[in-house]
Each structure stands twice: as structure tokens, then as C-alpha cells.
Subunit: 190 residues, 4 copies
């Protein structure tokens, strides 16, 4: 059984996904979570205070998707392919929520926490890059961490384009995924 806190976060994610952040009220969240209005404030001082918890959850989901697929992969190409796939999958499920998380719109105050939250994700990709550099698969003058961030930025924005803006069809999505991968391989000279 979920704790009240988890119930709140889950309800918020669902509602943000369905109707957007602005149109979702705390009242909506507690109704969906089946808890009392006041209970919300035991766990979160405000609606914005939800954001870090929400980002954490999103990153957790993303990391799970990536983790399970990347371990099995051998080459850096395979690994990157799986990462792109994971990012596209998560964007398909939570386009609205990720748009908020990624663009950092949830008020300037929490932006710094977010980088912290996203850190493990950057770190993981960074590791992969470093290993690939070490064993000669990749040669680049850019630092692994910076490269990791550029990669995530590139892939996320590509995924948003198809899922959030264009509401593209399945085949278009596949093409975009293929294209971003090619672009990425070229950038890394793979």
C-alpha cells in the first residue's frame, strides 16, 4: 500500500499529465488521492514544493528504463540506442510532465534542486562516455559530463517535438528516433 505522500505525488503526476500544471489545483490532487485537504500540507508546504519530488519520480522512471536496457548492451552504439529508446518511451508516457520538468518552468526557486535530481542521470551517461573514450570507441575533445548534457538535451527536445508538439504518428516517431540516433552517432564520430 502507498503512503499518503506517495499518493499525493502519484495523483499530481497523473493530473499534471491530464490537465496541465496550471489547471490542476491542490484541491484536485487531494480529491484524486482520496485524502483530506489539510493532509497535503503535512507533506508539502505548497504546490511548487511538489516539483522536486515529482522530478525525482520522473528521473527514477527514466533511470529504470535506461538501466534495464543498457546493462545488457555491449558497444557504446548499442548503449546509446537503448538510451534514446528509453527517453522516447518515457516521453511518450509523460509528455506534459516532462515538458515541465525539463524546461524547469516550475518557478526559479527550485531550479537548483533539479540539477541535483537530474545529476545521477547525467552522471550515468557521463560514465558511459568516459568508458567509451577509455576503450577508444569515442574520441572527443569535449568533457564527458558536458557531452552527456548535450546528448540529453538533444534527445529530449527531439522526443518533445514528436510527442508534445506534433502528436506524430507511430511511423513518424520511429523516423525521428532513427534520425536523432544517426545525428548523435555522427556527433560522436561513431
Amino acid at each position: 500500500m502507498m503512503s499518503k505522500k506517495e499518493l499525493i505525488v502519484q495523483s499530481a503526476i497523473d493530473l499534471f499529465q491530464e490537465q496541465g500544471i496550471d489547471k490542476t489545483t491542490i484541491s484536485d490532487i487531494v480529491k484524486r488521492a482520496n485524502i483530506a485537504q489539510g493532509t497535503f500540507y503535512i507533506y508539502f508546504p505548497s504546490k511548487l514544493a511538489l516539483m522536486p519530488a515529482l522530478a525525482e519520480e520522473m528521473v527514477k522512471v527514466l533511470m529504470e528504463h535506461i538501466g534495464s536496457k543498457v546493462e545488457a548492451a555491449q558497444s557504446i552504439k548499442e548503449k546509446l540506442t537503448n538510451i534514446v529508446d528509453a527517453i522516447f518511451t518515457v516521453n511518450e508516457q509523460y509528455p506534459e510532465v516532462l515538458a515541465v520538468v525539463y524546461s524547469g518552468l516550475a518557478s526559479t526557486e527550485h531550479l537548483k534542486q533539479w540539477e541535483t535530481v537530474y545529476e545521477p542521470c547525467y552522471e550515468m551517461i557521463s560514465q558511459l562516455i568516459e568508458e567509451a573514450i577509455d576503450n577508444g570507441e569515442i574520441t572527443t575533445k569535449l568533457s564527458p559530463k558536458r557531452t552527456a548534457k548535450l546528448i540529453i538535451g538533444l534527445v529530449e527536445s527531439a522526443a518533445e517535438q514528436v510527442y508534445l508538439y506534433d502528436h506524430s504518428e507511430e511511423t513518424e516517431v520511429k523516423k525521428q528516433q532513427e534520425a536523432v540516433l544517426q545525428f548523435l552517432f555522427a556527433a560522436l564520430k561513431l
Copy 2:
């Protein structure tokens, strides 16, 4: 002299930039624009309805920056360098506004208009790519339009990282700009 509608859009951009979307009220906007409360509603039914007009203005600013610099350039490398520079410059000036515009948070209802608004920008880069392909500067299997979109996504997210999330210092900004350019050149095999 500016029309009332233009006054509203300009005031909104300024205020969003200064205090963010959420903290900016319609009252703030009309006060800044020096018009009556009701006048706002003659032109826009709500705050969110401002978004397309706002995006148009941002794209206009971006295009002006790009246009003036790109014409002078000769090679595709030079042109891309200038484009990246233009995008970074605009992001430096309007980080908050662009975050809103770019992340597409402005409610699901207007998302489709946005692609239309961004279209001239995509089209312009697309043209440059095509010319570069024609004269053999670039070889790529990806379509020019898709490549253009990937480039914009990549550069925009890189710029956001330094201006919105990290509030980086001048030197870090330069490094990021240099890095994204290198990444981009590699991706296009330049």
C-alpha cells in the same frame, strides 16, 4: 506609435522576463501597458491566449538576430557559428520567456499554432542546410528540415542549460557555446 495589442504583448514579454509567468497578473500587464483592464479582453480572452502572439514576437526577434549575421557569412561553418551565436544571444536576453515558449507549457490548446509560428525559423535553417548539401559542404542522409529541427533543439537546450539552470558565468557560457558548436560540426561532419 504602438497599437494597444502590441503594447499588451510587449508589456507581457517584459513582465514574464522579470517575474515569470505565474507571478505576472493581467492587472500587472495592463498597468505596465498603461491601458484599461477591459482593453486586454478585447484582444485576448485570457493570459494563456497571449502565448501565440508572444511566440511570434520571440521568433521575430530571433530571426532578426540570425538574419543580420548570416547574410555576411560565406561558409556553412561560419553560418552555423552565427546562428548558434544568435540563439545564445536571444537566450541571454529572454531566458524566462523562451523557457515558456520553448517548453510548450502554454497549455495544450495552443501547441499546434506554435509549430506554425516556428516554421519560418525551421525553414530558414533548412534552406541553409540544403544549399550546403548542394554545394557539397555537407553530406547527410537526414532531410534538411529534420536536421534543422534537431539543430534548433540541440542549441536551444544547450543555451537554456547555461542561462536558465546554471546561471553560468561568462567564461562557462563561452565554453558551452564552443562545445555545442563542435558537437554540431561533428554531427554534420564538417
Copy 3:
């Protein structure tokens, strides 16, 4: 061709009928009448100032209905039958408008004008009663004018019941009309 003033009154009647007085704005009225916002104020100082003109129009319609039918009738019974029929017919066409006119809700300020407006209607029925008393058809201790007012009150409220509250079917309407006539005949010992 209708004058602007007539256009305003007619549009107001139509709109009050369709959406009620409260939900009808002056803006609605001028749009329907295809005239400018300011033109309204040339003819009427406010929305409430429309009411007497509106009542006049309604009474005019009612009188026309009654007039054409009553002249042909011979006996007082026949005449009353026709009056009841006329009132029901007009109520069928303008239930909402008549509810307002009859109940006098359009603000206390114009109530006195209304009695003046309704006067010809009361007077006409009053005449009929008096004639019927004179030629021995009716015997009553009540004054003709008071009797006329009671009759109108009775028949109007009966008509409202079926058209406004119950939205009755054709057959129910006929029954109600028949009933109120019988009740009326009995009251006048006819």
C-alpha cells in the same frame, strides 16, 4: 424598414425570450440589431429603460390578438373564450418575456409606468364586463375594473403554469385552458 429604435426593442424581446433578461447584455442586443454600441444610448438611457417599451410592445401584441377575435363574438361567454384563447396564444409565444412583464420584476422604478401601459388592456375587459352587466348577462357586486384585473391575473397565471413551469404538452394545455374557462364562467355565474 424598421427604425433603429424598433430594431432595438425587437432584438431585446427575442433575446430575453431566448436567454432571459439577466443573461442578455446590451452588447448582445446591439449585435443582434446590427447597430453600434453607442446607438443604444441615443434611444434608451439604460437596459431597464427598455422595459416600458417592451411592455408596450407586448400589450400591443396581446391587444391585437384579443381585438381581432372579440369583435366577431356575440355573447360575453364567447368573448371571454376568445380572450382566454388570446392570452394563452401570446403566452405560448413569449413565456419568458411575459413572466417578466407580468410579475413586474424589472426593477421597482418602472412599476408605475407598467400599470399605465397595461391600462388599455384592463380597460377593454372592464368595458366588456360593464356591457355584460348592463344587458343582464352578468350579475356581480364587484366593480368591472377590479373584476377585469382578477380575470387577467387568473388567466395569466394559469397560462404561465403550463407554458413556463410545466412545459406541458398540447393536450394538457387544452385541458388547462378549458378548466380556467369553466372556473371563470362559474366565478361570473355564467
Copy 4:
């Protein structure tokens, strides 16, 4: 102690009586009730949504007036006399409120609820008529329920005429009350 909801209804009745519906704002109502603005919206979504509760209260008051007087009465004539008296008394106290309730202006949406609200009143009179028919006091071909409705319509409109339109003096009121009673007795052949 009164519930918040009752407080709202009572304040609304008082204010409608004093200044009419249109001039009474929700702000006025909550101030008079000594409750917060938001509390109003917990119980009623709008001013018009008050109407059914308001009608219920009015019917309750009317029924109390009638009930206390009719029980003591023996003959149907006495009973009707008391009913007319009760209706006139309530109309004297709440002319404005009753005008609203009775005319059904409270927006088309709630009209159906009103017949339900008025039902006990119709039913009560209907019972009296039926008893009077059973013990031979009254002979009529009309159904008791329909007769009851006609009676209420007649008496209410007669009362409105003196209290709402004409603001008649005491003696005129008495005359009107006497007249409507005579008219009614004749209609029922009493």
C-alpha cells in the same frame, strides 16, 4: 444556532426584500451573513442557484401561516377565507421575494425544481377541496389538484397587484381581499 447554509438563505431573503435581486450582490449576502466570501460557493455555485432554497423557505413560511389557521376552521368557506388571508399576509411581508419566486424569473434552469417545491402547498389545498367535494360542500367537474393550482394563481396575483404594483393602502387591500374571496366563492359555487 443556524448553519452557514441557513444563514446564507436568510440573508438573501432579507436583502432581496430590501433592495431587490438585481441590486443585491453576493458580497452583500456574505457580509450580512457574517461569513467569508468563499463559504458562499461551498453551498451555492451562483446567485441564481439560491432560488430553489429560497422558494422552499417561502413555501415553508406560507404553509406555516396556512396550517395554523386552517386547522381551527370548520367549513370550506372558513378554510378558504383563512388561506386567502394567509397568502395576503405572506405577500405583505415578502412582496419582492415572492415576485421573484412566483414569476419564475430565477432562470429557466431551476423552474422544474419549483413545481416540486410548491407541490406540498398544492397538495394541501387539493386535499381540502377533495374533502369538501366528498361531504358535498363543493360540486365541480375540475380535478381537485387543478382547482388548487388555479386558486393559488388567482389569489397570489391578486395579492401581488395590491402589494407590489399599486402599493395600496390598508382599506384598498381589504377590498381586494374581500373581492378575491367573493370571486373565489362564486367560482366554487359556495
